[in-house]
């Protein structure tokens, strides 16, 4: 087990309006070494919050988030994140963006060589000296993946990395992630709202539901890759997960998140730097 959530609750409060939001309620899960764990669920179910807790961008209100036996106190290069939105620095070249995240203590040449290697892996070495705004959406996310890989993190956290891409590009990117994952033996936590994407990628699929966010069910998928989405086993599993998603409260039109009145709340929902 590389990482885990132990009875984690996360509450966001707004001291001005006096409103609070329970994003996660008593969630426990563990991430095993080498897992490709997919978190699926409707928006507002706490998928991204879970990922942010694992990354260390947020700290739990109660419970513990553990990584390699230690409680997570903040972001660390041991856990690389591929963000949902485009996250490259526009004032740096593609190469500089990747090299920026290579752990320090090495010379600039070494960092750039390492960055170049990762860019080759994602097939973008020709664009090393281009600027991010010259790339398409899919290419930008490939650079973000190269950056996370260049960090040489033990845990890769991916928050709907291809959510903003078109269907065809997304499939292509899924296959690339799979290829990189099989080659490097990393542990991945992958957030998505697409059942199909989870089925094509994950060794484990966790279904989350909202109001308040919690984990509903888990499926283990042993089918080897490349997976055929039209095979009987896959179709049956897809149906089962779809049903699970439908019984979840927020899919039936209830409020997206559970609001509670919080007294004496002093922590703000806004992120600190």
């Amino acid at each position: 087990m590389i990482a885990s959530l132990e009875n984690v609750s996360k509450v966001f409060t707004n001291p001005r309006t006096g409103k609070g939001l329970v994003a996660l309620n008593d969630v426990s899960m563990d991430v095993g070494e080498g897992d490709f764990l997919c978190l699926i669920g409707p928006s507002g179910c706490g998928k991204s919050t879970t990922l942010n807790l694992l990354a260390g961008f947020e700290l739990p209100t109660s419970g513990r988030v553990m990584f390699k036996g230690k409680e997570i106190a903040g972001p660390s290069p041991e856990r690389g994140v591929v963000f949902q939105e485009f996250s490259l620095y526009p004032w740096m070249t593609v190469m500089q963006n990747v090299a920026f995240s290579v752990s320090k203590g090495r010379t600039k040449e070494e960092r750039e060589a390492l960055a170049m290697k990762q860019l080759e892996l994602v097939g973008l070495s020709d664009f090393a000296h281009a600027r991010p705004n010259e790339l398409s959406g899919g290419m930008k996310q490939r650079v973000a993946i190269a950056r996370a890989l260049a960090m040489d993190a033990d845990l890769l956290l991916m928050d709907e990395p291809f959510g903003s891409l078109d269907e065809q590009t997304r499939r292509k990117m899924d296959n690339e992630v799979l290829r990189l994952w099989e080659g490097q033996g990393k542990t991945v936590v992958f957030v998505t709202h697409s059942i199909e994407e989870a089925l094509m990628l994950g060794t484990r699929i966790l279904l989350m539901s909202a109001s308040p966010g919690r984990i509903d069910r888990e499926w283990k998928v042993d089918t080897p890759w490349p997976r055929d989405p039209t095979s009987p086993g896959m179709v049956a599993l897809k149906k089962e997960i779809s049903r699970g998603l439908q019984v979840c409260s927020c899919a039936s039109g209830e409020p997206k998140a559970a609001f509670v009145e919080v007294q004496g709340a002093d922590d703000r929902p806004e992120m600190e730097v």
Binding site: A55, P75, P77, G80, V81, W91, S101, M271
Partner: protein, 300 residues
Amino acid sequence: MWKADRVDDKGKMDKKEAAEKALREGRSHFEFRPETRRFLLANAVNIAIGIALVIIAWWVVAEAMIAVRGAFFPTPPETFSALWEALGGAKINGATIYFHTRSSLVRWGLGYALALVIGTIAGMAFGTMGRAYDIGMVPVYIVQMIPGMAWVPIAMLIFGLGESATVFIILMTALPPIVINTAGGIRQAPPIYSRVALMSGKDHFSLFAKVLIPAAALPIIDGMRIGLANGWRVLIAAEMVLGTMVGLGATIEDSRYSLDFVSAFVCIIVICLIGLTIEKLLFSGLEGVVRNRLGLEEEG
């Protein structure tokens, strides 16, 4: 430069021809001979027309005042011939125009340099610390609301008459926009930029130098630019507390007593020209470079 362009453009067609060829061949991208020269020329013509409009308006007002009030009012020809003489070395208000200009530039440069250093440091501190921002911005906004002229008695009480009082007035008017824009720019940088740096294990210095400052570069430049204009415009008020009548602002101020309004107008023109030159040459260029680096504009 033009020669090199011509050689590079050999074989390139003009805009219309190239577009038609692309349409015929069903291509989506094409190249044509750049029209840099035409654009530069059009730009220069537009600026000339704008300046002409100001001069015409001034002339109309001057003639109207002379006709209606029967009073003296410097017209553009009078002023420009006086400017010409001044540039030739004729003394106005006891010194050459070059001496007045240099004195003003030195005072302004000193006040503005101080404002840049203090403003940038304060802005960066406020921008990163929430509590410091909430408290620190209150005095900054109060200072910003104080009109340039109002600093005259304050400066005199603190420094007496002299150069220090002048520099102080320029500093106080240039400072607020620099602090406000630097702090605001850093606070508005997308949180994801900081998250990327933090997950990469960067320390606070790298976060600042490599991420927050580039991300806030445009608002920071805007603040510097507004501060520059504020400091330059307050020159007249600032030079009131000099005690000696040296400087462009002092000469304008002195025309109230000497009735040498032509010299005052000459100084106004010099102030405008210097302000415009710094704005166009320094800041427009700097902004262009930064916008390009941020990927907001295509190269070339």
